[in-house]
């Protein structure tokens, strides 16, 4: 811009706060645009290193993802939010296969006569499989490490279960809404109570045996009962979801949840 540049002596005077005000103003106006003159200012290496060290402390902290930010803003504690946000990594494959299975069920519902039965069979099992994978030696490669932390045990199990149930229930509701003949909100959530009951049952059973095995047993039982009902000529296994049956499911869920709570309290 102008031919004028700082002399090294001026630069040192300025940096040491020895310049008079007018010179300082002049130097500042020049420094704003002249990089070579800026580098004339003496740099205090140890000060720079200290400054960078404390900056790096903040900068190196992992950035929070969107899920974590939302969870934290809802009022969850930072650790809980991080745990919930990290859990889906454990069951990515399950999430993918859930989408595929639900898509297949929808496909069948549209193309085969009475095809929507397939969705009735599968919707309660899908969250169950997710729960089986979310905790325990089978699904979590770091389970041995996690099991010795203060987080481990019932608390971790329930947190992970919540992290699985929310996407599972959302996906199932979405699929149910896409079923043919969905007319009322009731049609979209008829599978919800059976599904939750199965999950609660497998959690309770998980107190005595491995959680994956417990979920497997409950899931197989469910499919077997439904299969037997449809084979025995009773062509309406849909009755399992009828309003009267829903009342039974509700009672069963309440009982199982109560027993779970009792176990947790006693433990």
């Amino acid at each position: 811009m102008s031919g004028w540049h700082l002399t090294p002596a001026q630069a040192h005077d300025y940096a040491a706060r020895r310049s008079d005000e007018i010179t300082a103003m002049s130097v500042e106006a020049h420094l704003m645009h002249c990089a070579p003159c800026r580098s004339l200012l003496p740099a205090d290496e140890s000060w720079l290193a200290d400054g960078w060290a404390s900056l790096r402390d903040v900068v190196d902290r992992p950035r929070r993802g969107p899920v974590e930010t939302v969870l934290a803003s809802v009022g969850l504690r930072a650790e809980t939010a991080k745990l919930l946000a990290a859990t889906p990594r454990l069951y990515q494959a399950w999430l993918g296969s859930t989408v595929v299975v639900l898509a297949a069920a929808l496909f069948a519902a549209y193309l085969l006569p009475r095809g929507s039965l397939m969705f009735f069979f599968l919707a309660p099992v899908v969250p169950l499989v997710g729960v089986a994978l979310a905790y325990g030696r089978g699904g979590d490669p770091a389970h041995t490490l996690a099991s010795v932390t203060p987080m481990a045990g019932q608390r971790l199990l329930f947190l992970r279960t919540c992290a699985v149930l929310v996407p599972a229930l959302l996906l199932c509701t979405g699929a149910a809404l896409l079923l043919p003949h969905t007319t009322t909100a009731w049609d979209a959530v008829f599978w919800l109570l059976p599904s939750l009951t199965l999950v609660a049952g497998s959690l309770l059973l998980g107190n005595w045996i491995h959680l994956s095995a417990a979920s497997g047993i409950v899931g197989v039982l469910w499919l077997a009962v439904l299969g037997l009902v449809s084979l025995s000529g009773q062509t309406v296994p849909v009755g399992v979801f009828a309003p009267q049956a829903q009342a039974c499911w509700g009672v069963a869920l309440a009982v199982l949840a109560g027993m779970l709570l009792l176990r947790v309290r006693m433990a």
Binding site: Y14, S26, H33, V59, P88
Partner: protein
């Protein structure tokens, strides 16, 4: 999931000799080393200049830390003027604002900090700028010498540092009205000295 995770911007290649805009693009993409280069390049002169505004070294250092943290968070908002390879003016804007909020926080800790306005580059090559670049050698230097320290400080804060009247009032610790009258009086005095 993997697809979503890799989606954020790729950092450009950069080195200790890269220009500021390149470094800031890299910082926006999450490169901590680029911030280190920028810190090494700009922290010394920013510190020297802030030291003329505030004699408390701790506060200056704290303001500088906040400045570079703000750069780390807002690097994406830097938009260089075409052909400009220097972020000095932008950094100074952030630094002086951080110093002001630092001083304000110290002064009244119980009042929650008001969020600062978004950062805009100050110091477009205005007429004032061109004159300022020649302060020492032009007639302006002599004219400034005739001003009282109070008037000079008011001119310095509003013209050279590019602060608003409100910000100038905060850093000089005088009421806004006083800043206005001092700037007005200083300009009149300078005009007189320069035209006579």
């Amino acid at each position: 999931m993997k697809l979503f995770r890799r989606a954020h911007r790729r950092a450009p290649s950069y080195g200790p000799d890269s220009t500021d805009p390149v470094l800031l693009t890299a910082i926006a993409a999450g490169e901590a080393e680029a911030l280190e280069i920028l810190h090494r390049r700009h922290a010394p002169w920013l510190r020297a200049r802030l030291n003329y505004r505030c004699s408390d070294h701790d506060q200056v250092d704290a303001a500088l830390q906040e400045t570079f943290l703000a750069v780390w968070k807002n690097a994406g908002s830097f938009t260089p003027r075409p052909g400009d390879t220097d972020a000095g003016a932008w950094l100074w804007t952030i630094a002086i604002r951080q110093l002001i909020s630092q001083l304000r926080r110290r002064a009244n800790r119980w009042i929650s900090d008001i969020e600062a306005e978004p950062y805009e580059t100050i110091g477009d090559a205005s007429a004032e700028d061109t004159v300022l670049l020649n302060i020492e050698h032009g007639p302006l230097g002599a004219a400034l010498h005739t001003l009282s320290p109070e008037l000079r400080a008011a001119i310095q804060a509003t013209v050279l540092d590019g602060l608003t009247v409100r910000e100038a009032a905060q850093i000089l610790q005088i009421p806004e009205g006083t800043v206005k009258t001092r700037v007005m009086r200083a300009k009149a005095r300078l005009r007189e000295a320069l035209t006579s």
